[in-house]
Each structure stands twice: as C-alpha cells, then as structure tokens.
C-alpha cells in the first residue's frame, strides 16, 4: 500500500473530524478523495502540520488529527518534544511513513533508513505511540479517536504516488471554511 491507499481507507473516518493535512501530495490526495470543510490543507510551509494541529487541539475541545509525513516530521523534529510535554488528549498525530519525500520525487528519507520515528517519538516523551502496517491504519486511527488519549500513530507504507490535481482553492477560503467548521 502507498500513502494514497491509506488515505482512501481512512477517508470515511476522517470525514467527521478536524484534519490538518500536510503540504503537497497528501493534501492534494485528501482534497481529491473527499474534500471537506473540516480539512485544513497546507499549501506551503513544510513541517508544520503537527504544530498547527497541536495549537488547534490546545485551543479548543474537538478532536484534531494532524496528517504528517516522515520527511515533514524530520524537517520539524522539535515538534515531538513540544507534543510530548503539552499533552492534549483531543490530539492525534498520524505520521504516514513511506520512507521518502514523496512530493519531490521519492528521494529516500532517513526514516526509511536507520531512524525510527516511533522510537524518536517515545524518546521525546510521547506516551501513546503506535506503529502499524499500512493496512491497519484505519483500525489504529479509530481506536485513537475512541480512546480519548493523545496518540501518535506511525503508519508504515510503501513509497509511491498517484496523479492528482493541485489545489486551486484560495488559502483564505480554506482557512475561513475550516474556522467555521471548528466553531460549528
């Protein structure tokens, strides 16, 4: 399974949740699969999906799922200690770990080599870290939603991309409809 297969699997679970989605292909794929006002698509700023999601979770009570990638977490490694030390039980970080920078041509990341993001997250102090095979992502995500405990899920999958259109929606429109969904 590749990232888009995981997103296709979990789209029905994501539909009713606030989702902050990583820059590039992950946002484009989610937008194509199941565009929702509850999705905040990142059009730039690699690495900050987990930080935006944590800020959102800390500011209000609804569940928040940040969808991130291994390359983006590596870019913003400082996020893991911040998450660990500011526990927000309405927050789930889903790292889709395909061991590559998918949006830029599948160059390998260090997470696909020696570095285990699961081990790093635990070492940073994150208490509920679950590593799953791609096919089990939906089950792990639903359990995390039902569990009311801040959870980091590392979903291991294969590298690879599908053809998707870019998101042409204006960023202010994305943000405005997302904020209305947050308040609804």
């Amino acid at each position: 399974m590749i990232r888009s297969d995981i997103l296709k699997d979990i789209a029905p679970i994501l539909r009713d949740q606030l989702v902050v989605c990583n820059i590039g292909l992950p946002s484009q794929e989610l937008h194509m699969l199941d565009d929702q006002p509850t999705n905040f698509y990142m059009l730039g700023t690699m690495g900050l999906s987990s930080s935006i999601g944590l800020g959102l979770a800390l500011a209000q009570n609804k569940k928040v799922i940040s969808i991130d990638g291994d390359g983006s977490v590596l870019t913003n490694f400082g996020t893991l200690p911040t998450i660990a030390n500011n526990v927000s039980d309405n927050y789930i970080l889903l790292i889709i770990d395909n061991g590559s920078y998918g949006s830029t041509g599948d160059q390998p990341t260090y997470a696909g080599k020696k570095t285990s993001l699961t081990a790093v997250a635990r070492a940073c102090g994150c208490e509920n870290v679950v590593e799953v095979a791609a096919k089990d992502t939906g089950k792990a995500l639903q359990e995390a939603i039902d569990g009311d405990k801040m959870t980091i899920i590392v979903a291991k999958c294969e590298s690879g991309n599908i053809k998707v259109p870019v998101i042409t929606m204006d960023p202010v429109v994305i943000r405005d409809r997302f904020m209305k969904a947050v308040q609804a």
């Binding site: 902050v20 990142m42 730039g44 500011a59 996020t79 911040t82 943000r175």
Partner: protein, 168 residues
C-alpha cells in the same frame, strides 16, 4: 508597574490567551509573567517556525495568539510568515527582542540586527521599534491593529528599552 507587567497586561487586555516563546535574556521577565498568568496558555517552542505553526492552529481554534522571540528568528521564519501567516491571512503579534542594537555586548548579534528591519520591510510586515519605555504606551494600539488587519506585526524591543546589560 514594571514594564513586564505592563506588556503582559496589554496582551491579556487584548484577549491574547495563547503565547509561544523561544527565550531571550531581555524577554526573560515577560516570559516568567506569561508563564505564571492564569489566563494565558504558555507553550514554549523549540524553534520559531514551529511556534508560528502553534499560533496558527490556536487562532483557528478561537484563541488569540502571540509569539515572543529574538530578531534572529526573522531569519528562521521568512517562509512560514509568507506561506502560512500571510498567505492564509492570520493575525500574529510578534514581540521581538531586538538584539544587536545600541548597548549590545555580543558582536555577532549585530550581524542579524543590520538585516532585521530590511527583512521585515521586504515582507511588508508592519514594524514598531520600542527604544524607550514610553514607546510601550502604543502596545495596546498595536495589538488592536494586528487583530484588525489579520497580519503578522513586529514589535522590536531593543537593549535601551530593556535598560541595557548592566555595565554596557
């Protein structure tokens, strides 16, 4: 009233309830007061672009945010300011320790100080420079302006504003 208490008082009076910080010696007193304030959620961040991500999320979640950092962080956050805060039109007061100005003891700080205002100007970021303590009288108006226009706004506070570094 100390200048730290005045600054935090203005933040709270403007409903700012989520503050992220990357520390600076000059800002230590403000950070202590923010950490102790019951109406402010203080989330220290490891890097300033991460902090801006936290602020973006907090604002979308209904809390007014602010970031406290050094001017060296302008070098770190240009992309985040352009592609997140400005692109999505989000308000972000940035209370910035303006290192490398008059009475600065550390030479290397001057290297980013000479770029600070030029970078902020290039980014079209409204910028205010506090040099004497009475300049902080405008803080309340600057915060209202920030949340009126939904832009990042820089408040540079230099060593003279903070009273220098002892013998400097």
């Amino acid at each position: 009233m100390s200048i730290n208490t005045k600054i935090v008082g203005d933040l709270v009076a403007n409903d700012i309830s989520f503050v992220t910080t990357v520390p600076c010696k000059q800002l230590a007193g403000v950070i202590d007061e923010i950490d102790a304030h019951p109406d402010v959620l203080h989330i220290p961040s490891n890097k300033e672009d991460e902090g801006m991500g936290l602020c973006a999320g907090a604002w979308m979640g209904g809390k007014r945010p602010a970031i406290i950092m050094q001017n060296t962080a302008i070098g770190v956050t240009i992309n985040t300011l352009a592609t997140l805060i400005q692109y999505y039109r989000m308000p972000l007061p940035m209370l910035i320790s303006y290192r490398g100005e008059l009475r600065e003891p550390v030479a290397c700080q001057v290297e980013m100080a000479v770029h600070t205002k030029a970078l902020l100007a290039q980014m079209n970021i409204p910028t205010y420079h506090f040099h004497t303590q009475s300049d902080a009288d405008e803080l309340d108006a600057i915060l209202k302006y920030t949340f009126m226009c939904n832009k990042p706004v820089a408040i540079l506070t230099d060593a003279n504003f903070w009273g220098g570094y002892g013998d400097q």
